[in-house]
């Protein structure tokens, strides 16, 4: 194995972790803060270095040495900025008092043990599936890794990756994964299946990490472990991750956007860092898959609707401004990719737009899509035990208890995810592909993109076990 494989992946993680640390206040306990930052940093780091890689290609062409130097320089600059900012911050923001946040109870220890056991098992399954499919699933080798090969192997001719002759492989699809893979290969000077596999593993772990650690911060430790267990108990999540598909990274960025908005709404008078990161995460979502554009539109639609309903009772300008600032660099890059590198996708879009009225009039399509939605919604995770009734029963047992400050981001997030599902419906309605084939082969992955966010919102709503125990007047359960 090439010894540069791990450094090539650790440098973006370090860049991302330091970058997000610049924008987030440090809170105790530090272990949660570190897990939170590293998980965020993994996704942000891969996103940032994929952007840098594309910018480098456009600006100077492929240059291995120049690129490594640029990344290391960026890391050093960011670290220096972090040291300065930590020195300037006179006082750390104290931790939020949370029930059960003292010494771990037996229950917490048992849940932690089960979580790590399940995480290790999920890692084992990932490894076995990856060994059997080292190049990933169909979409991985026919779209993402194929484009990465064109960029890496093409050398000076890397723009051939976006040739309209390759229309079957969708040259207009976003570049986060292909660029991150090609960047890894350029870095180590060799093409290996380890890079896309490790990237995929990184995003899967980061998704679990951000979910667990954000609930540690926003709710309680048990709530975080339970949410992590639900995600790790989704076989389809593990399979899609091992198949190196873009749905897991996209799900990571959607979840991160929602988490950041929740963090901001906990302290709206505080620094705008979480808003900026939310905007960046939304931008990275669109840099990962076209559905990310739908997510941005859904989020803005949801936020706009809520603003109208609140009739100006809450400040709008500051949140939208910082969200837009975070989004802007990615928006510019996406527009450049769609208009300059791969303009052929626009013709396909216009073609689809022209046939839209006829497709909208196709009445038989509506029940067909609704039926598929109803079926896949219950089965997309490939579970042996469907978690939806399980989660409903869990809610019946534990009850609902939300932090007042979470209500607003919760309402925006649920509305945004609902608008996304509605958007998916219209994508199927207007798509030029064979509808049944398209529904069968993609709908489960679309639901998977939203699944981590739904689990997070569920455990943000459900009453934490610690509070249920206190409410019952029994002190610590199992302590």
């Amino acid at each position: 194995m090439n010894p540069l494989v791990f450094p090539s992946l650790l440098i973006p993680v370090a860049i991302g972790s330091v970058f997000v640390s610049l924008w987030l206040p440090w809170r105790k306990p530090l272990s949660s803060a570190l897990l939170f930052r590293t998980s965020l940093g993994t996704g942000f780091g891969f996103g940032i270095s994929s952007c840098l890689f594309v910018l480098g290609l456009v600006g100077w062409g492929p240059s291995r040495g120049g690129f490594i130097l640029a990344e290391i320089t960026l890391l050093v600059v960011l670290m220096a900025a972090l040291v300065c900012s930590l020195r300037r911050r006179s006082a750390r923001i104290p931790p939020e008092p949370r029930p059960g946040s003292g010494k771990a109870t037996t229950l917490q220890r048992m849940l932690r043990l089960l979580f790590y056991l399940t995480l290790a098992s999920a890692g084992g399954i990932f490894l076995l599936v990856s060994l059997q499919n080292p190049h990933g699933g169909w979409d991985a080798w026919s779209i993402w890794n194929l484009r990465a090969r064109f960029i890496y192997r093409g050398g000076d001719q890397w723009r051939e990756a976006f040739s309209p002759l390759l229309s079957r492989s969708h040259p207009d699809y976003p570049l986060l994964l292909p660029a991150a893979v090609a960047r890894g290969w350029s870095y180590i000077g060799q093409e290996t299946v380890l890079i896309p596999a490790m990237l995929s593993l990184g995003f899967a772990l980061a998704t679990v990490g951000i979910m667990v650690s954000s609930l540690f911060v926003l709710r309680t430790r048990t709530q975080g472990y339970l949410a992590g267990l639900v995600l790790l108990s989704t076989p389809f999540f593990l399979r899609v991750a091992a198949y190196q598909l873009a749905d897991v990274p996209l799900g990571f960025f959607i979840l991160t956007t929602i988490v950041m908005l929740c963090l901001y709404d906990r302290r709206p008078e505080g620094p705008p860092g979480p808003l900026l990161l939310a905007g960046m995460a939304a931008g990275f979502a669109a840099w990962t898959k076209n559905e990310g554009l739908l997510f941005i539109a859904s989020y803005l639609g949801a936020r706009g609707t809520l603003t109208l309903l609140e009739r100006g009772r809450k400040p709008v300008l500051k949140p939208m401004l910082f969200f837009a600032l975070g989004l802007l660099p990615m928006a510019i890059l996406i527009v450049y990719h769609k208009t300059r590198l791969a303009p052929s996708g626009g013709f396909l879009f216009l073609e689809g737009f022209r046939s839209a009225p006829a497709r909208l009039r196709e009445l038989s399509a509506y029940p067909q899509i609704l039926k598929a939605f109803a079926e896949k919604m219950l089965t997309f995770g490939e579970w042996r035990v469907n978690p939806l009734p399980v989660l409903a029963l869990y809610l019946a047992c534990l009850g609902i208890e939300m932090d007042r400050r979470d209500r607003r981001p919760m309402a925006v997030s649920i509305l945004a995810l609902g608008l996304m599902v509605a958007g998916y419906f219209f994508v199927y309605l207007l798509s030029p592909y064979d509808r049944q084939w398209y529904l069968t082969n993609s709908l489960n992955r679309l639901f998977l993109q939203l699944w981590p966010s739904l689990i997070f919102l569920f455990f943000l709503t459900a009453r934490p076990i610690e509070q249920a125990v206190i409410a019952a007047g029994q002190g610590r359960l199992g302590s």
Binding site: L107, L111, L114, F115, L117, T118, S121, A122, G124, I125, L128, V129, L131, Q132, N133, P134, H135, W138, W141, S142, N145, L146, R149, F150, R153, G154, Q157, E160, A161, S163, L165, L166, R168, S169, L226, L229, V230, L232, S233, P235, L238, W383, R384, V385, P387, V390, L391, L393, Y394, C397, L398, D434, W437, I465, A468, V469, A471, A472, Q474, L477
Partner: protein, 150 residues
């Protein structure tokens, strides 16, 4: 059942335990699935996946082809008229994946044409009748020159 008994049976502590069990049991299934996967895992299958096999299949041809440019594609499955044939589409896309950054066009109207055939399906006499010259023949993978294209 008396009200007090009912309260004890479905009391908060019981509900908390039931709640934890509800989430923990599916997680244990993940652990069990790993055991199942590990038992059924055959290490001899490593490197025998369809993509890796295609990479090996096209490796000898790859060295003979230009690094960049466009080549045509010919196969025994009629991909042009049957685009819904998933297997045929897969074979074409795998060929493209193996030969990247060379662009493979799904038509034979190109000076150089890559032939991708099922084992034993390639008839060496047939290309000459269709204006092709066989440049390389690895059995199921061939490289042809289209005499009709300058």
């Amino acid at each position: 059942m008396r009200s007090a008994d009912r309260k004890a049976l479905f009391g908060p502590a019981v509900r908390v335990r039931v709640g934890i069990l509800l989430i923990s049991l599916p997680a244990l299934l993940t652990v069990w699935r790993l055991v199942e996967e590990a038992i059924s895992f055959d290490p001899r299958g490593i490197g025998k996946d369809v993509v890796t096999l295609y990479e090996k299949r096209f490796a000898p041809l790859k060295g003979m082809l230009p690094n960049k440019g466009v080549v045509g594609y010919i196969t025994d499955a009629d991909l042009q008229s049957r685009p819904e044939d998933v297997k045929a589409v897969q074979r074409f896309v795998l060929t493209q994946y193996a030969l990247a950054p060379l662009i493979v066009l799904n038509i034979p109207q190109s000076r150089l044409v890559v032939g991708n055939f099922h084992e034993g399906a390639f008839d060496p006499k047939l290309p000459a009748n269709q204006g092709f010259v066989v440049l390389l023949n690895f059995g199921d993978v061939v490289l042809l020159r289209n005499e009709a294209v300058p």
